[in-house]
Amino acid sequence: MSNLPDSFDEMHQGGDISPPYKDFATWLMSESLDELKLKAEEAENLFRRIGITFAVYGDEESAERLIPFDIIPRIFSALEWERIDRGVKQRADALNMFIADIYGPQAVLKDGIVPSAMILENEAYVPQMQGVEPPGGTFAHIIGTDLVRTGQNDFFVLEDNCRTPSGVSYMLENRAIMMRLLPDLFDQIPVREVSDYGTILRQTMEEVAPAACDDAPVLAILTPGSYNSAYYEHSFLAEEMGIPLVMGTDLTVENNRVFMRTTRGLKPIDVLYRRIDDAFLDPLAFREDSLLGVPGLFEAYKNGGITLVNAPGTGIADDKAIYTYVPDLIRYYLGEEPILPNVPTLRCDIKEECDEALSKMEELVFKQVHGSGGYGMLIGPRATKEQIAEFRIQVEERPEEYVAQPTLALSTSPTLVGDKIAPRHIDFRPFVLSGRETRLVPGGLTRVAMREGSLVVNSSQGGGVKDTWVLDR
């Protein structure tokens, strides 16, 4: 069924162990499979005890699930990391300049780099944001950049996540659990720390305090509540930063300032890391029926009474239709060549490109422009004739909703599955933080498709996670 070329394996090249894996491979050879399985069991038990769970919607029986965790890490050399670090920061900077431009002078549209209609008629464009200038001009303070690899030096950006990217708690918990299970390994192998992510996020938030803040900034995280799929992460981050985790009902707005209801009365908040979508933020400004949001929040934001992290409207930068323009945006705003390339993408809203895409559906991956979480996609080489025929009708009906990309032979990493270690496809999401500076901790979330041959790494679709090591040398 697979029309894929052989995948690049992160650990093995021909008969050789690739250099960053040498020390780890030595250790791995010395461990028996039974010992590894025991460790994996311990890890699973820890996840359960700590309560690191996520929710899968439409699955009432097991409302909270564990994400499969693989104890074989994904390892980057210092050199590989140096390139990723520069590449994702470059991209984050360009995206932030792009968003500021769109909600400001719109030079990029006037200069004809991106078609105006694509922005102004895009669902992700938030007209209420036009003219808003957040502190420091930063809109997307947290960006998750999804990277895939197909060869030794072939990294591609698969997509940008500029709204409320999740997964960073797994970066931190995976490491914590690895260190607990295999402390000796970390003595032998120089793995760079990721543990100061919370401190750096805090620092980033403090740097973008609003005009109305005249003291040490008060920070908080806004969650939709414990039924949300990413609730564990919300509470984890609040704990890491030592700041309150609030819900919409805890907040109220007076005189363009946002307050939380406490046992000692109202207390102002200066910077709010919101983990609810734009549409639900404020029933007065966006969806009227939102019960999650805070009436008046957006007005307070526009008037400099609070900073929202990320700003509303940042979705305009991670739309899959805009994605194809990002290399041009890097050249336009920074005058640099992109360090990390895009995956070549066909846009179905353009007739010629759509025809080309439809002519070889069995080779391509089709994605919904506004879709996320691995829903609404077709992987041509892995689909049946019936699935392709069905999907073709959808694309023909609404071509503007789809893009198509070659099916990349995602790199594989050795993964403990059942009674053996076998290659499984992986991707990688580092988290870029932008305040007064652009920062990145040396690590990220490696997702792994646990099923043999599967290319879908999303947790909602049965994907798992691995610890990611960046070596110090």
Binding site: S229, T263, S372
Partner: protein, 334 residues
């Protein structure tokens, strides 16, 4: 700017953690008493009435006629495993865990893990197909909730959060003891003065067992079991840690500590002071002559009013767990 104070919603969650954790133990104690009575030779009616009174005292079958005639198996199921019964042990643990999950930022890691472990383990014990052993379940519930209380005492900062847990615990203990004594007196022994038979003695013992008070009673009173003596001890002992008087004292203590922490006196203070003054002055004969049932009903009502007053003083009154609609909360996080 206010430097102290916590989210009112969080204070409410902590208060309810205190209540639910204690409630689980109280339910287990009721079952333990019923189980002990079973093991004593005696009339069958007495044995089944023990389970009935446990159901009534747990607030599961508030109507007497519904409680009597319930089989042992059904009673055990209702008290421990029935998820539709909000006071069953599984529901208590589930609600404690849900409250803890929404405030885990404000708990220590140990408290969270104790609550989460308890819920996981007890859920496994209650899973369909698992062997549910009553004796083991009673031991587990007592042990697990003691672990939770222990980790609260050992690891929680002595600040507002801790005092809210303590307030919830005291309110729950007052409520459960009042209802326990009421059931045993009112339902099983309508004529409270008519004591002396060996069957009565078994009943009083059962009541002391259900309160985990049998040793403490004989140690403290050094006298034979009597209706008056047991009521005096369970309601008004200044030393017994589950008596109503003791827990009214705990209530005042926790509130005072909270007020000292906040340097602020809450509106609910007056009610708690009144309650304390009253219970310290009253004696058991006054309660009995007024009608023990009436006296206990007053205590329960007053306790509820105080719980409401505390909630509104600190802003967590109104409907609890104001989660927004599920559909809204379930937006995808990329």
């Amino acid at each position: 700017m206010i430097e102290v104070g916590m989210l009112s919603r969080v204070a409410g969650n902590l208060f309810w953690i205190g209540r639910f954790v204690d409630r689980s133990t109280n339910v287990a104690r009721l079952a333990d008493a019923a189980r002990r009575i079973e093991a004593i030779p005696g009339p069958v009616t007495l044995k089944s009435s023990e389970w009935a009174s446990a159901l009534i005292a747990a607030g599961v079958r508030p109507k007497e006629e519904e409680a009597f005639g319930v089989s042992r198996a059904e009673a055990v199921y209702t008290l421990f495993r029935d998820k539709t019964n909000p006071s069953s042990v599984i529901s208590c643990f589930q609600q404690a865990r849900e409250n803890a999950r929404s405030v885990r930022v404000d708990l220590s890691q140990e408290v969270w893990e104790a609550i989460n472990d308890t819920w996981l383990d007890f859920s496994a014990l209650c899973a369909p197909g698992s062997q549910f052993d009553l004796e083991r379940a009673i031991g587990d519930v007592k042990g697990d909730s003691a672990r939770i209380r222990g980790s609260i005492n050992e690891t929680l900062m002595r600040n507002d959060g801790f005092y809210f847990v303590k307030l919830g615990q005291a309110i729950e203990r007052i409520d459960s003891m009042a209802r326990l004594v009421d059931v045993k007196y009112h339902v099983l022994l309508p004529d409270a003065q008519d004591v002396g038979s060996s069957q009565d003695r078994t009943q009083w013992n059962a009541l002391l067992w259900a309160a985990s008070a049998q040793r403490a009673y004989s140690y403290a009173t050094k006298s034979d079991i009597s209706a008056r003596g047991v009521a005096q001890f369970l309601l008004l002992s200044a030393e017994f840690p589950r008596s109503i008087r003791f827990n009214v004292g705990q209530l005042l203590q926790a509130l005072t500590a909270l007020e000292r922490y906040y340097e602020f006196e809450a509106d609910c203070r007056a009610d708690v002071i009144d309650f304390t003054n009253w219970i310290e002055k009253t004696d058991v004969d006054a309660l009995i002559s007024r009608g023990l049932h009436e006296s206990l009903t007053d205590i329960v009502t007053r306790n509820h009013q105080i719980a409401d007053a505390i909630a509104s003083s600190y802003g967590f009154g109104g409907p609890r767990n104001e989660e927004a609609t599920l559909a809204d909360a379930r937006q995808e996080q990329n």
